[in-house]
Symmetry: D3
Subunit: 319 residues, 6 copies
């Protein structure tokens, strides 16, 4: 397998493909324009400067463009930098695709879709099932490629579907322990709760906020769309209001973006499950990066805490 950018060191020569994550223009001290490129592959990122950039360069080397580069890896202010010797846009004949240059969920989209279908199949309430099916059908492509968030948790390709399936599994277990919960409402709420992000964010691989995303936000957009879909399907009544309430309240508090807090049991559960799965995703990925006896970096979404990885635990695990 090819070496990822995370494995390069100072002095290594580079001759391979990368995806442009962002490109911004500057003016050098000699008065000539240059481009600062952030390049990525599935393992990480590196910065590169393209000096004496022409107008054409500016239009060619933009976010989401795949490029072929040659150059050397050196260091600037303690961070690695790629010194570009040649750069060109990737072509169809190069046989590379953007999706291979970004981090992805540990489960394939096909498998995630299969799991999702199983859960929908288990639903018995026809109204909830039909609305859910309609959304999954309509948004299938985005649902299987978008991240669950721009940063913090599940912030990788297929992160949204990965998060949803993980939450559904957790929900299934909880329904076993607390059997009064309405399974269908909880499943529907989990599947739909973050679908508004498909309109809030601009793309799966280089997501930024859309105008509607910034001024309305994924929660009210999704509440509106559930109303429209239900009307389209001729479904009325309490289920629709409950489903809108599930989505509306899933951030838990007004100051976290939910104008109403959870006011039905399933909405409270949705909030707790979302919270737990997001935290476990953050924690597990951060702890994987450190050795036993060390602390992780400070984790923004965990109140800036560092977590310790104990030394003793390995000795007693079976595997």
């Amino acid at each position: 397998m090819k070496k990822g950018i995370a494995e390069y060191q100072v002095g290594d020569a580079f001759d391979s493909y990368m995806l442009i994550k962002s490109a911004s223009k500057g003016v050098a001290s000699n008065g000539k324009p240059f481009l600062t490129l952030i390049l990525r592959d599935a393992t990480g990122e590196i910065e590169a400067k393209l000096w004496d950039a022409s107008k054409e360069d500016e239009q060619t080397f933009v976010a989401e463009q795949l490029v072929k580069l040659a150059g050397d890896v050196n260091q600037f202010r303690g961070r690695l930098q790629l010194k570009i010797q040649s750069i060109r846009p990737a072509q169809l004949t190069d046989g590379v695709k953007a999706a291979d240059f970004v981090e992805k969920a540990p489960i394939s989209p096909e498998e995630l879709m299969e799991k999702l279908t199983e859960f929908i199949f288990e639903m018995k309430n026809p109204n909830l099932q039909r609305i859910t099916r309609q959304f999954v059908k309509q948004y299938q492509e985005g649902l299987l490629t978008y991240p669950a968030a721009v940063k913090n948790h599940h912030e990788y390709v297929s992160g949204l579907a990965h998060h949803i399936v993980s939450m559904l599994k957790l929900a299934k277990q909880l329904i076993d322990l607390y059997p009064d919960v309405d399974q269908d409402l909880l499943y529907a709420g989990i599947i739909l709760h973050d679908l508004g992000k498909l309109k809030e964010l601009s793309s799966a691989t280089a997501p930024s906020y859309t105008l509607e995303g910034k001024l309305i936000g994924h929660i009210p957009m999704m509440v509106e769309e559930i109303g429209a879909v239900a009307k389209g399907l001729g479904i009325e009544g309490e289920e629709v209001v409950m489903l809108q309430h599930m989505v509306l309240s899933h951030h838990g508090k007004a100051e976290w973006g939910s104008p109403k807090p959870p006011m039905i049991r399933e909405a409270e559960m949705l909030h707790l499950i979302d919270h737990m799965d997001a935290k476990m995703n953050i924690l597990n990925r951060a702890l994987k990066k450190v050795n036993p006896g060390e602390f992780t970096e400070r984790l923004f979404a965990m109140d800036q805490r560092s977590f310790y990885k104990p030394v003793f635990t390995n000795s007693y695990r079976e595997d």
Copy 2:
């Protein structure tokens, strides 16, 4: 003019009509059921007990029922109470109507409607004008009768229209002072901002929260409805998003129920104008009840402050 309930004193005999604001059932120490009625007319409220209430009484004497009563006014624990000697539902032939038994805006619905029409007529952007017209047409009855809120400010019949027209006048003056403001967007935002309350509250004269009002709230409901109305009229584009953003953000902060804060100038103005008109309505009405040299009662919506009415000011007013 007939004497209002606010003018009765201990010992007065009563023989007239009242509107039941609320009715609740209790069990007396003799084991028999009774009803506690809160009765109101346009000047105020009084409590009455209907002892030995039958099943039929329970079903007859309910909120929003007009009744004819005879009895005496006495006092219980420092508050006036009506001792019922006879009570019956008002009949068509009595020639009384509920609307005369509640507090009303100081301007008539007709005049408010006329003002509203003038402002809409001044709008030049056809998209904003058409959406606004459609809402006013569709909701005209509620718009002209509902209060602006259940308590705190403009909490009287036609309070919503009164608040809207007062805000529009203020907006007009502000546009003179700050001419960069988009008049049409501001007018449309003012007219629509609280229309969701027509679905959030159950009625104009005895308003309580509907299920949808409690679980979704007037702001997301209205955002959804603007989307649906625009689609129905075939209007798309920035104006629709801006109008939804105006409504969404008009409470100003997430913890006050707006998942997005104002992010366009006109949304900020809508929030400030709403705030100012609500505060002036509260203050003016509270200060009317006290004499110069006194403090008002503590005002909940003004951070529990009491306001002082200065003595000196009268002497220099022209009127």
Copy 3:
């Protein structure tokens, strides 16, 4: 089965046993002392006044005393009250015991103990297992009878063990979903996290705070005791510190009583599981008391929210 106090109505005669929950002395307008007794059985509570109470009465009728009473149920300010005709302490020969007059967990202590033993048996780390066993052995009686809290959640006899076993089941499922978690540390943390309450509270059936409970609190007391028990067993090292940290941090934040927030993965999970099981216990019990289409009373430990019980859900449940 005997009628519980919750089933009595105004006018009913009473002749049975009750447990005194609290007794407080007052002086009547005739200058004579009386006792206000709060009496309970497994279904609820009722107030009673014992007039002209002698010194001996004061010493006899105290909290946790079982009594035999005869009298009538009447009403005072809208609440039921028991008018005492005769009262005497229950005697051995009466064949009643306090434990039958309080609310209890829906699972028997024996079954809870069995479950607990199974989970401990699954632990592989000998240090964690030995410390846990030692605590369970030493505190077995309290562990199986104490409530998990004085109010809010699992506030009934055996509530602590019920809460622990419910959390252990949830933990088992979560370890399946997130297999990096250290099972033994999580199990040990769950079992020990609230054992300090056995010293913080005075008794299982009429719990109040002890002096040490008020001035030190169950968390630091338990941290201290884990240190002492480990030393007694000759166990040293990281496991002990981690276990102390689990207990110390399980309230999640300094302002909720944990001087350190969770800083290892298992501590974070302990906190999340504790939170989820407590909330589900509160919600499920509150929703059982209302009919579909109604809201629960405001729930103090759920940020004063009322929860709605949907109407639609019954129709699609299998049972």
Copy 4:
């Protein structure tokens, strides 16, 4: 008209006058002292280094000194910098004055003074009018030149008078809408509310905080001075206390610097008007700098929000 500094680009030669906004001393790597000068004209600022600065240079090139410079504009770390070839203090014969090198209100001091005089003329209460006149007379020069604040809003020459006149216009309109308001008290409060800044800040063109400004602040200083002025004019009674209260409470809350919140109607209005005019000033100036379809920079005094400038609005404006 001469080119302003904001219009210069990398490579341009410079030969003109600038005002020194601040000067600070450093030591170069060769051990010799240098000065970092921030230079400004009415359009903006630029940094310049004066190498090998002598003791005399240090004393000559200080804040508020006008200088004649020749040099070249180049770039350092992405920002323009002026490379000095020659520099000397401006002389009387140069015919330049500091006032032309700073940002100014869009209305002339003369016109602002005229407006102010008109409003004072409208006042009918002789006590309030006399106190107000006395302050305006005594502080006229500062009032017409000082900014309203060091940053955030109206932070330009004559900003204070511009803010006051703008608030007075707004007040006049509001009094039309809410006629119970005492015009004279509101006018007097608006004119005096920020005059304490003339003592809090050191100068109109390069304002910094005075010792008294830092340790006492403009609000208590102004309350004290109203007391002294009223005593000097032989005026006593409620008007004086009300006026002191207006100034004291105009920041609205203790945490914003007002030890008492507004407790009379006119004080509440003063606070709301101050708030509205400050926000509109910030918003209008920030939106002028961006094109339709863009967001402004984050605005510190607007809770760090960025504001969007809609695209659609231009098409329907008459002008």
Copy 5:
């Protein structure tokens, strides 16, 4: 010595003098007016109803009036009440004075004045000493009789002087430990810091807030007055600003009423000493009322905490 009201019990006859603390009018169920009197002596308070009160009674029996009463002590809703048989205003010939019917500082005004004079005598800075002397001379009567606060701490006659002298003693000790502190500034700040309360409150024995007290508050009033007194004495310069800053900042934080926090060492000390002496006064008085082994009532000004009085401590005290 005469029996204080705190020593009376149900059934005792009463025939003595009391001070009216407050009087409020009500209307009885028979339609006749009555007065609710709160009566006090130096040991405590009791409520009494004066039935069938005439207009003259209303004007006679008002707050701060000394009265002679005869009647019986009985009980209403668990609290003692005085049943009035006869009541008349006290006369000069009765030889009683209001000051004997209120709680007083444990040290006499004469002794407090002597102590105060000693501390002023120790001051060496003539400016600070002259300002301080001037205030003490001007306000001597109020200073020696007013409480330090309406409630919470030193809320008794001469409480202000008691608090000041106690703080001065503490300051003297602290200057020994931290000799860099400026003694004169600290002494002057302590003596003046709360003198504004003499204008904020209406009287020494039945204090309520004056209009100026409510709308301006004692801190800004005192800052103003220091300015006026210094000007009157022809004193200018830093000492005056520092003294104003001491008073202005002594509450420590904006949200506690100080628009500027302490920004000189002596101001910080003044705040800390004020805080410590107030807390010790509250604690010592609350702990005196309970027995060893008990908790005090919840103390409002100590964050609602109850304090425990240990049992063990007495055995090792020498006295």
Copy 6:
């Protein structure tokens, strides 16, 4: 006396001993490793780069190592830097010791120990005295060398003992003023309150947090240890609980790390004394660094305030 590092200037030659405070590794642009050393003596710190550092260098030049250096002082980005010409570890024969290269309390450890002994000797309660003696004996070395904190206050060698003795002196004065305080409990609490820091921090001269310090913290560790010591000495009862409570609550509030707030008088005093002595230490040291008429730097532990040093005060001091 030798010149301290704080007295060196650009261009000075250096040839003397320094203590390494911290050492971190980097990679230069030529790909070779280097060490960034922070070097300190009792007067201050300086940075130095050791280029082309070998593996051996990395292991030799570590925190807490004394070194002999020769080189020149120059400047990099406005800060002094030492350019190393030669460096070697200090040897026994060099006759230097680490303790001379760090800031120290102004009182010697011997004198501090003597004072401490006197205070313990004054204690009369044998239980409290024995526990205190045991701790002082056991921890004597750390107690006399550790700082009281890593930063903010008393952050120098012997800072802990200096803080304790200063607090004891303050306590003695306060007991004079408020004689109800239990001297022995207060003395014991002061001496023990921060001893947990000896386990929380790694060393006296280069303190960092230990694992136990990070995950448990000094307060719960000390509560545990008081329990263990008391058990070891066979002491039981209220004194032990009170002492644990003193330590537990001394930070005053849950959000500052005390799970219980002070609930006995002596605990409240301990908190207030700790607070006052820490603040005076910070203030006095910050004010020493500035001239009259200047402000100190912003002080983190004083809510980021800058303090002003008045000009007038010197003239009236006797010394």
